[in-house]
Symmetry: C2
Subunit: 201 residues, 2 copies
């Protein structure tokens, strides 16, 4: 099908977005075409504005609109002695949404995956080590997904974070709350049993 | 999670696209953030350019960059005596991709669906009737999806296209080529048997 040039270029551009194939890109473009000119301009402007404004925090490498360090890193009410290491901004959002963590964050920008070209140098690991060594950090929580890449990254980081008196921890792997033992996969259940908690002392 | 304002507004805008929820919008926005400024500008510009340029053909109501009638409607090599009625541009693209149709098209802009507010007046039906009556059209093929809405629209159109000597047809419903009789659903198989073809004369 030969779409008009202006439509085809929107389909091509939207089709480059992650998770968007040519069919969904076509659906989006035809939907956009039917919107108010005002709404279309707002979409385009928001994207350009983000490119102008959004940057990474100098300290934790989370996304921020502020120059220098982000609001969370500048917040004196947050505990500076504990750093939660996460893969990316959505993971940080998930931890923050629990309301259970009041320390600082460090965003790696990915997980080790040598086959896809993600090595130690592509992640913000050197920056994490400098940060831990140059300030009074007592604990680093490696809050990475319990996948092959996540576990490999956590192992490497635990090895590299060889700093006297520093606790390096990892969230417990085990049964999801509300889940059913019968339907838990074998690996998860094995990790849950290995990491069992004593209740009576 | 409080995302930076510039990121949140891109998430909100992308999240309005059909088939995009807040999670995919976040993934897209964070992906966009990592792209070259040049590529981001090209995406934004393509969308604005489409809003400036793309319009509907005066004759068939397909999308076009040309003012007035589209290239297909102006193409003298296409048979003007036969009109294929389709729901939208992707459906037109599917028919055109077969290479088996060389007539003109008419894009309804949807299917009758009174519960969602799509009535006869919201579709380009009056325009189809005018087009059929004012020119030398011999056949109208109602190439609409064999769904409740598609069948209802086809029935209504067949009733309205009450023009002397005009053939109103519909593509055959039946077994998809390469499909297996055993796995065909009952309705499809019933329509296939009803519409059976005689092979020996």
């Amino acid at each position: 099908m030969n779409y008009p040039l202006s439509l085809q270029s929107v389909i091509d551009e939207l089709g480059r977005l992650p998770g968007v194939g040519p069919k969904s890109a076509t659906r989006m473009a035809l939907w956009l075409m039917r919107q108010d000119r005002h709404d279309i301009d707002r979409l385009a402007q928001s994207i350009v504005h983000m490119a102008d404004t959004l940057t990474l925090c100098d300290v934790c490498f989370n996304v921020t609109d502020d120059a220098g360090s982000c609001r969370m890193c500048s917040d004196d009410r947050r505990d500076r002695s504990i750093i939660c290491v996460v893969e990316d901004t959505p993971a940080l959002g998930a931890v923050e949404a629990t309301g259970a963590f009041h320390g600082q964050y460090h965003v790696l920008g990915g997980l080790l995956d040598p086959l896809s070209g993600v090595t130690l140098e592509s992640l913000k690991i050197r920056e994490l080590l400098q940060r831990v060594k140059s300030s009074d950090v007592k604990e680093v929580i490696l809050c990475l997904s319990p996948t092959v890449e996540g576990d490999a990254t956590a192992l490497q980081l635990a090895r590299l974070l060889d700093v006297p008196n520093l606790v390096v921890s990892q969230p417990a792997a085990g049964l999801p709350v509300g889940g059913d033992v019968e339907f838990a996969d074998a690996v998860t259940l094995a990790r849950a049993v290995e990491g069992r908690l004593t209740l009576n002392n």
